[in-house]
């Protein structure tokens, strides 16, 4: 039997099941819904090339989303240094309108954390990943996960004054 599906059906099923959570993960990493949507679309394009070759496509997608988010943040830094570039360096103002002041303060503090600390905290407290899963996603050791989590929480406590 021959089919011309080429994995698009499988990809569509993955998309239906996981895209929303991945967009939300990317939002917490880049603080911009539009950019988060682009990142997830790109991640699915990449994973399509690996279907049948990647044993755990969801884990692969999550790692790719984290890596692409990192690239976008790096580009945002460049844009800040070179104001002529078109890269948006702040989220749309209305994206945080629904937040209470205290929630907005937490999100702002989260975004100010060093990149690795922010990634670890988001993966642990929002994605609810285990230490092993976070280590595999970020390509770092379990010890580093603990260190970044500890430092990140300490920085948040200090920033939020609790």
């Amino acid at each position: 039997m021959t089919t011309a599906d080429d994995g698009w059906g499988e990809l569509a099923a993955l998309y239906r099941e996981h895209a929303r959570l991945l967009v939300r993960l990317a939002v917490l990493l880049v603080d911009d819904v539009g950019i988060a949507e682009e990142i997830v679309q790109d991640a699915f394009v990449l994973v399509h090339r690996r279907l049948g070759h990647v044993e755990r496509p969801v884990a692969y997608l999550r790692t790719t989303v984290v890596n692409l988010s990192r690239s976008r943040l790096r580009r945002r830094l460049v844009a800040r240094r070179h104001p002529g570039l078109v890269e948006r360096d702040a989220p749309a103002a209305d994206e945080r309108v629904g937040l209470r002041d205290d929630q907005r303060a937490v999100i702002t503090a989260l975004q100010r954390l060093p990149r690795r600390q922010r990634e670890v905290l988001v993966l642990r407290y929002w994605s609810e990943l285990s230490e092993d899963e976070i280590a595999a996603t970020l390509g770092i050791s379990n010890g580093s996960v603990k260190t970044h989590a500890h430092r990140g929480m300490a920085a948040l406590e200090q920033e939020l004054g609790t």
């Binding site: 021959t2 080429d6 990809l11 690996r50 049948g52 755990r56 790719t64 407290y125």
Partner: protein, 361 residues
């Protein structure tokens, strides 16, 4: 309220109501700043091509011999499963060779530039396979067109040795007794197999019983060693080198630092005739690592290319898959000489150089 609870609460509130957009992940070209100029230029190119074709008097080989530092033609598998011959100058299709191919199943061209090997979808997936991996068989077809011929079933990722004698490929996991081993077939050894792997059509040179995710096959210039990748969850991907005549396997540097670099890897041999130099591509990090597969030592790295899907014989011209928000997703040409990406087509899923006739080693 603890910081942890405040963090959870704020993150939940931040993403409340955020939903995934409608799936539209087939990449498209971004808008051009000067569409009218571009359209005019395209018209000129089309007219020039038509005039050239008319002047040539036949369409057997519409692209003249290369005067460029890379082969003039590529073969590619499109997103809708067609195997096409295309110009490497601008990616325009010269002819369709076959259909029904698995876009991600691999593609290879013999070193004499005459035969294309690709993975055709045989059935949607093996009965009872929980992972529902598409089952493919490897077919061959002449670059000039003709009838596809079956080479082997339940396999994919074909790769031809530089001397043209051997075809390496992998088994389909959960589907055949070959598992996901690296397999090698002697193309000179008489009749071609038409059944599932049974050992009769070539040595099963590597039984990867403990390996998973085997892929990224690439021959060394000596037509003896095969570079491949595999992974051990949750650690990431490794790169190994198989000696097809021994057979034994050497693994490249598996230190955490290197493993982290190659955790999403394709790989290919690049290069020189006597030294075995492997190029390891860490896709998401856009790095190409060069390593000595005999010692496993990393030699150098190059930031260039996105996902490299094919290198030319000299290791100086790459076909790459690239996508980011500022570039249309698809196949690009990239050479060491000019070091910038030239877009060839968003509908091309994978591609391979077609070596120029008479240029074989």
């Amino acid at each position: 309220m603890t910081v942890e609870r405040r963090l959870r609460d704020a993150m939940q509130a931040r993403v409340e109501g955020v939903d995934a957009p409608t799936m539209s992940i087939r990449p498209e070209r971004p808008r051009r700043v000067w569409p009218a100029v571009a359209a005019g230029f395209a018209l000129i190119v089309v007219v020039a091509i038509v005039v050239a074709l008319l002047a040539s008097g036949h369409d057997d080989d519409p692209i003249p011999p290369a005067s460029t530092p890379y082969p003039s033609r590529i073969v590619a598998v499109t997103t809708d499963g067609r195997v096409i011959l295309a110009s490497s100058k601008d990616g325009h299709a010269l002819r369709t060779l076959a259909s029904g191919a698995l876009a991600g199943g691999g593609l290879a061209v013999s070193p004499d530039g005459r035969t294309v090997y690709y993975a055709e979808i045989e059935q949607a997936y093996c009965p009872g396979d929980p992972e529902r991996i598409p089952v493919t068989r490897i077919m061959s077809i002449p670059v000039q067109g003709g009838t596809p011929e079956e080479i082997a079933t339940n396999v994919r990722y074909p790769t031809v040795s530089p001397d043209g004698r051997y075809l390496a490929f992998t088994g389909i996991p959960n589907c055949s007794d070959a598992g996901q081993s690296v397999l090698v077939k002697d193309l000179y050894a008489g009749a071609r197999s038409r059944g599932p792997y049974d050992g009769s059509w070539g040595p099963k040179v590597f039984a990867g019983t403990t390996l998973r995710g085997v892929g990224g096959l690439s021959w060394a210039p000596d037509s003896r060693h095969v570079l491949f990748t595999w992974f051990d969850a949750p650690g990431g991907q490794y790169t190994g080198v198989l000696d097809t005549r021994a057979p034994n396997t050497t693994f490249l540097d598996t230190s955490p630092r290197v493993k982290a670099k190659v955790d999403t890897t394709l790989c290919c041999y690049q290069g020189t005739r006597d030294t075995l130099v492997a190029t390891v591509i860490a896709q998401d990090r856009e790095h190409t690592w060069t390593a000595d597969p005999r010692s496993g030592r990393l030699l150098d790295h190059l930031t260039c290319c996105g996902t490299v899907v094919s290198t030319d014989r000299a290791g100086a011209a790459f076909l790459t898959y690239w996508t980011d928000p500022t570039h249309p997703g698809g196949i690009y040409r990239w050479t060491l000489a000019d070091r910038h990406r030239v877009f060839l087509g968003s509908l091309l899923f994978t591609a391979a150089w077609v070596p120029e006739a008479g240029a074989a080693r």
